[in-house]
Symmetry: C2
Subunit: 309 residues, 2 copies
Amino acid sequence: MSLDRLIEGIVRTQNPAVVGLDPTLDYIPGFLKEPFLAEFDDPMEGAAAAFLEYNKRIIDAIYDIVPAVKPQAAYYEALGWQGVRALCETIRYAKGKGMFVITDGKRNDIGSTMKAYASAHLGTFGAAGKQAEPFGGDALTVNGYLGTDGIAPLLEVCDERDRGIFVLVKTSNPSSGEVQDKLCGERTVYQMMGDLCETWGGEHLGKYGYSAVGAVVGATYPEQLQELRLRLPHTFFLVPGYGAQGGSAAGIAGAFDERGLGAVVNSSRAVLTAWKKEGCDERDFAGAARREALRMKEDLAAVNKAIHI
Amino acid sequence: MSLDRLIEGIVRTQNPAVVGLDPTLDYIPGFLKEPFLAEFDDPMEGAAAAFLEYNKRIIDAIYDIVPAVKPQAAYYEALGWQGVRALCETIRYAKGKGMFVITDGKRNDIGSTMKAYASAHLGTFGAAGKQAEPFGGDALTVNGYLGTDGIAPLLEVCDERDRGIFVLVKTSNPSSGEVQDKLCGERTVYQMMGDLCETWGGEHLGKYGYSAVGAVVGATYPEQLQELRLRLPHTFFLVPGYGAQGGSAAGIAGAFDERGLGAVVNSSRAVLTAWKKEGCDERDFAGAARREALRMKEDLAAVNKAIHI
């Protein structure tokens, strides 16, 4: 029933937003990254240390006004295991600040393998009488191309540990239609995937009418967003593509239900690079991130009035 | 043009097989794992050290008779970043022994993010004038649900660094048909995905007629395997599902072309747990893995005669 904690965070902050923690060295001001890059011989180790410190400062600047963060695994894997360590530590830090953490990994595989991904990202590892949390996120993005086998092991962990998943339904990228918009009988592939989300979530309903199985639906496709909101009444949406990818607040309006719930909207680049766009002192990069997060909150509030349970 | 190196390895060893390095603590004999689990306070660190030592001994036992290994990322992520470090070190060790390494990550995302995955798994990372290889695999498994945007960044790295990818087309699991077998017009979803592989690989053909874009097609669906071999003449297949999942050598026969090329068949559990099935001394676990790999080679040779370029 995990998405309930996300929903409660949205109501508490009156902000249906998630900040994507997708760092690259380009986004990080020189004063912060240069000492780390100079300190370590291995460029991945230096960059990973810079990523972690940068993330912590962004989290410190937004945790009271934004309910969730979404670190994108790819940007950490780009620094090898050293980057993955920074990902684990970022997740732990955000959770320590009370944020809901969506690990954006889009994992997918056969059942036995998905069991390993489920315990990696949402569960625990135990050996020799000791337990540990490998990644420790609250929710994981996943791909449903393999069908029910690849989803069922996640649902077990979601039930046991109050976690959630978001399944790719209609993605925000320009070529998403190549496969997702194809018509199979009377439904498109993305509609069929959305219907599967309703099926998979069916027995895992939370207090507010939404299940532990959410869907990823891009802000760049406003019509499909509205259509899917009506079609999938128990499926909470994670909406990427706002801002840098071209999605607008007006286009997102259809993603919300009459309580202002039903969706959490992601912004990554616009928040992380706000200091560049503002042209402020680079030492104020986290302040600029907070100002952009507040601007986004106002922008969303204009189309999505008082949020209530 | 990366799959050429895989093809040459298959011809050299006369063995179209890849061993899946998917360790779990259950597979590892007590004499090998117990000291590591006792040595480290963190159970993930102890297990990761055991995974790495286990993998090295398996690799030592098979590298002269099997051309490739396929570590499955999920089993390493299940041990957090400590496990991911063991994955990176396993890849480096296998490459040092001359093996072709397929990182089984089934990664997928929008273009900008896929660029990060491409450099993580097949490319390099550079900062402050220094370069490093984050994971260092030769090929990566990927999911094509997001269409061309999610594949194009991989192809750039494949061209620059002689690497390859395998796109999920028809997976080996029981529920793969829920999405993949649906009919869109005159084609099933998996046929459409297969056709996309031919398109994506079109400009990236190697010396032996196969492109850098391979496809994952399960041994558990023999009819589709044969049908796709004819339909996708330039697409090399990675065939999971042999052995433990129920696929037989006879069922795989249709995956090969008239030269005995066209597919590489994966076995994970049967090789890794051969010592249990044999009931041999646990200290001979790597010897048992080699005997099972030789048995599999013979089994495949019965349906796939002398392999030549």
